[in-house]
Symmetry: C2
Subunit: 257 residues, 2 copies
Amino acid sequence: MTRIYAFANQKGGVGKTTSVVNVGAALAEAGQRVLLVDIDPQSNATTSLGIDPRRISRSIYEVLVTQRPPAEVQLPTKWPRLSLLPSVAALAGATVELNRLPDPHERARRLQRGLSALTEYDYILIDAPPSLGILTVNALTAAQGVIVPVQCEYLALEGLSQLTHTISLVQRGLNPGLSVRGVVLTMFDARTILARQVVEEVRRHFPKRTFRTLIPRSVRLSEAPSFGEPGIFYAPHSRGAKAYRALAQELLQGDQP
Amino acid sequence: MTRIYAFANQKGGVGKTTSVVNVGAALAEAGQRVLLVDIDPQSNATTSLGIDPRRISRSIYEVLVTQRPPAEVQLPTKWPRLSLLPSVAALAGATVELNRLPDPHERARRLQRGLSALTEYDYILIDAPPSLGILTVNALTAAQGVIVPVQCEYLALEGLSQLTHTISLVQRGLNPGLSVRGVVLTMFDARTILARQVVEEVRRHFPKRTFRTLIPRSVRLSEAPSFGEPGIFYAPHSRGAKAYRALAQELLQGDQP
Ligand SMILES: Nc1ncnc2c1ncn2[C@@H]1O[C@H](COP(=O)(O)OP(=O)(O)OP(=O)(O)O)[C@@H](O)[C@H]1O
Ligand SMILES: Nc1ncnc2c1ncn2[C@@H]1O[C@H](COP(=O)(O)OP(=O)(O)OP(=O)(O)O)[C@@H](O)[C@H]1O
Ligand SMILES: [Mg+2]
Ligand SMILES: [Mg+2]
């Protein structure tokens, strides 16, 4: 049974890409077969795995717009059991193409239909862009659960109600089985009162659904993309790497039947 | 002559809102009459000025969709010479409404047309969302110049070529007078090599157009929105506040005829 999770939050810069890349890498390291899906035109997840979007001939764009099978688009990475459906800048145009489709359900189901054909993965993790547009709706429709990275900052709290509103719209229409798999607190800096206040606030709003693991602010994690590697491989003994491994374990344990 | 600048960058969390709010506040403090325009459905600029988006009956939504005059929507703030065109969550729906308009030029010109009726301001600063969709295109069409906040992180560099591509599309079609007014480096942490590398890289790409003032990472700036105040008023002697005042001065000097 493949588990499909979308990492979504319309607030920008909260650690969606960093979480998809490092949780995915940690799950692969732990023996799971993992596919990362980059559905953000910024292609940050693609770059973070050492792949140059400008050199890619087939991408998630074809899966969404011309319904090419993902098996023809997926790429291996340098690391065993870790594959990628890459993104390109042209994906920004897919929004216009998809919005032209007459049937709103058809627009939102393209990713779901593509991924349903893949059976060889244990985990599929989707990196969504910082918006609640058609690309994020595709991610929420294809997923069984949403993992919400929340930066330990005040402005990141503000957007949570808009996100839960969008999730319930998708649950009511396109994907009744969608649930919030968990909220991940990122860039936690124990020295600031604000960070601790945000953690308390989020745990109060999502009592049973906040991951215990806190991801600390760690410069190694932000350096890793410039080397085209996940942080857990670039700096395996850093605090950030340890935290993402712990988060992957927490996810695995919670997913045990 | 009113100067209109859009703060835009599709990369999320790079300091667009923090820059609009603090540069705007510093210009108002220096005697300029300033209007901040929040065109992001997240309404972070609105909240950062102590205004609750849920209590607003008229917003930028009406300016864009029903073409209500901005003079009927603008709000005063607690600080003299600093006014706001507020945003609300419903603005996310404006994207769908605008994209339904048959004429693509009409879609992109709504904000420009609204702002052209306002003559009492020295500066109008527009806070754009983290995307290159119709709301950001409206901001780029209404503006004379773009100010690009860039976080001193590797992933923030990646998106610059997509942004300059979008700017040149707007220059060719909708707004030939648009220029890049400057790049602002934000969340600079002098202790990390990565931050210094990003500064060098950006200065090389935009030699004459990178503001000299670097905005340091400063927790006071990220606390300020939870008190509904710009950082420069919440913690006037902090490093962040001093840097934004210096940036506002640099902008003023460069704008002198
Ligand atoms: N725990 C961390 N410690 C330090 N830096 C981090 C951490 N997590 C992410 N970063 C850095 O913060 C920035 C934002 O993170 P990231 O790009 O993953 O967020 P995002 O939510 O995917 O952004 P976007 O909204 O643009 O897609 C990046 O430069 C990243 O390298
Ligand atoms: N110089 C700074 N030092 C410390 N924190 C900062 C600084 N500038 C911004 N922040 C914080 O970083 C986060 C991102 O900043 P901000 O929300 O202004 O970025 P943005 O580009 O407007 O994000 P979005 O893409 O979601 O619109 C916020 O929590 C903000 O308070
Ligand atoms: Mg991202
Ligand atoms: Mg913002």
